[in-house]
């Protein structure tokens, strides 16, 4: 091989090698770039999440704060946070916290939807039992409209209400063991059979018409309960709230708003209001559907708070608070039979609504990132 040929071959190899080196460098750069991009995306996300958390902390101390942040230097990047009042999933007065984290040329957005429970004083009931039609009880049923502390048979004097308040023309006691009492004109009247005069109010007219939905039973929009509010809050899980269409999926003990939506003509039969270990349920229990014929049947256990049901029959539980049944045409033979006790309790009603009327905690009900 001549020297010239050797030089040509060597030069060719050098050129080929250079090209290959160049390709390797490009490939290496791509790997590094891929890694860098991933790192930047993660960093931007972390910055955005930090922005949300800073805003939530700020809101905890000042619930009117909507200023947000603009290009605040954070973690080697910048964060901008914007706060707006919106309606989210049917819940009004939700604060949308949108945080944009930026590092180098990469940005990430993290959005939290949070909710301060609004001050509300719901109109719950006209009596211990607020009914939209005639009804009756049988068996050993005690309906005591005097005011009781939660889970107590003691009396808080003079602050009770009717035992039964109904738009129907009759409310009968089919057994000598049944009794109705209440507070009339500030006088506490112990349950008796026949009921003491005035403890059962018949042919009553509900101002504006008898409520047709659970939200309207709590006062409707003027009391902070536009239609769908109870269901929406139940879905968020606020304070242990839950929403189910199958009562078997309920998680015990019942807390917050327990919203049971049944199919048309459906009934929740034999359900317990207490956990299997006997822990009583509290809060607001809703049994409802769009056709307004969901039936709460043979409920057992103990519960303190508010029950809002389309229809109730064969109630077998121990209860403190207020009950509203919406249907004008109840199913079943009797509202209650067997053995049951119902006590009016302002404390139970107050506690039931307390978590949505007095809570100072900021609740994050959705997070989008």
């Amino acid at each position: 091989m001549s020297g010239r040929a050797l030089i040509i071959v060597v030069a060719g190899i050098i050129i080929t090698t250079s090209i290959i080196f160049h390709n390797i460098t490009i490939s290496s750069n791509r790997i590094a770039g891929n890694f860098n991009n991933y790192l930047l995306r993660q960093s931007a996300r972390n910055i955005a999440q930090s922005g949300v958390n800073m805003a939530l902390r700020q809101l905890e101390t000042d619930r009117t704060w909507r200023t947000g942040y603009t290009s605040l230097a954070t973690m080697a990047g910048k964060v901008s946070v914007r706060l707006t009042d919106i309606t989210f999933a049917g819940i009004p007065n939700v604060i949308c916290v949108q945080s944009t984290g930026t590092i180098v040329d990469t940005a990430a957005v993290s959005t939290a939807y949070c909710y301060f429970p609004q001050p509300r004083v719901p109109t719950v009931s006209k009596g211990l039992l607020t009914l939209n039609g005639s009804n009756q009880i049988n068996g050993s049923i005690t309906i005591d409209g005097r005011d009781h502390p939660s889970f107590s048979s003691g009396i808080s004097p003079t602050t009770g209400t009717y035992g039964v308040w109904t738009s129907g023309s009759s409310f009968s006691l089919g057994s000598s063991a049944g009794s109705v009492g209440g507070t009339v004109l500030g006088i506490d009247l112990a349950p008796g059979n026949p009921p003491p005069l005035g403890t059962v109010a018949l042919n009553q007219v509900y101002p504006g018409g008898f409520p047709q939905t659970p939200d309207s039973a709590l006062g409707g929009p003027t009391s902070g309960f536009p239609e769908g509010t109870l269901k929406a809050i139940a879905k968020t899980g606020l304070a242990g709230s839950q929403y189910v269409t199958d009562p078997l999926k309920l998680v015990y003990p019942l807390r917050g708003i327990t919203y049971v939506e049944l199919p048309a003509g459906g009934s929740w039969t034999g359900g317990s209001l207490s956990s299997s270990s006997g822990v009583a349920g509290t809060g607001i229990l809703v049994v409802h559907n769009n056709s307004k014929d969901a039936v709460m049947k043979t409920a057992s256990g103990s519960f303190a708070g508010i029950v809002l049901a389309d229809d109730m029959t064969n109630f077998h539980a121990q209860f403190w608070g207020g009950i509203v049944a919406l249907t004008p045409s109840p199913t079943g033979n009797v509202l209650g039979n067997g053995s049951a006790a119902m006590y009016f309790s302002r404390e139970a009603i107050s506690n039931a609504t307390g978590f949505i009327t007095t809570s100072a905690d900021l609740n994050v009900i959705g997070w989008w990132e």
């Binding site: 090698t17 390709n23 390797i24 790997i31 839950q242 994050v364």
Partner: protein, 207 residues
């Protein structure tokens, strides 16, 4: 005679140099090939992890409580969960599972497909990620960060965080006699470029 010696000597030296250059060139070409494979594998890994992270972080979004309904099934290689992934107000059902459909023709005997199935009113999708995934493992942790060892998880409501492990190799193997750690192959098989990814995600909507 001296000229003949010079000629033979220069041929030998030139041949050695030429041989060295050829070997060097061969090594460079091999490195370039490996580097290309690595780039592909890294790209595939970030593509898979971006999809997985995007879905898992939105798990439970707009899903009504009780939270047992957010994660429907939780197994070591399969998870079914709910979430409003496209933020359109309707909740979609996601299913991640492994299968071998579409991967039997690849030279790599270990690769599997990860099937991502979305059923919902707005975005029905059913796609298999055939990107050389050789490992797709899910581990579940409770609120105390304790590993939930049962599979499937009997009470998905206990799950608070999910550790995802993904390993990806290139589908085509290459001839390489170097040691495994130089290829970063967790399986110590140096004939495949590989990348490994592990991350614990705490979906914020699964509280």
């Amino acid at each position: 005679m001296a000229q003949l010696q010079d000629l033979i000597g220069s041929i030998i030296i030139g041949g050695v140099i030429l041989l060295m250059l050829l070997v060097f060139n061969g090594n460079i070409m091999e490195s370039a090939g490996i580097q290309t494979f690595k780039t592909t594998v890294q790209g595939n890994l970030t593509a898979v992890t971006d999809i997985v992270e995007n879905d898992f972080r939105k798990m439970g979004y707009r899903v009504a409580f009780p939270q047992d309904s957010a994660i429907v099934t939780a197994e070591s290689t399969k998870i079914v969960f709910q979430g409003d992934i496209d933020n359109n107000g309707s909740v979609d059902l996601f299913q991640y599972t492994t299968d071998t459909v579409g991967v039997i023709k690849t030279p790599n005997p270990r690769d599997i497909a990860v099937r991502r199935k979305v059923t919902g009113p707005a975005t029905p999708q059913d796609a298999r990620m055939v990107l050389g995934i050789t490992k797709f493992k899910l581990q579940y942790y409770d609120a105390l960060d304790s590993l939930i060892k049962e599979s499937p998880v009997l009470l998905p409501s206990k799950i608070r965080s999910i550790k995802i492990t993904i390993a990806i190799e290139n589908k085509e193997h290459l001839l390489d006699k170097r040691k495994g750690q130089r290829m970063s192959n967790v399986f110590q098989d140096t004939t495949y470029a590989a990348a490994y990814w592990e991350r614990t995600i705490k979906p914020k909507n699964v509280r």
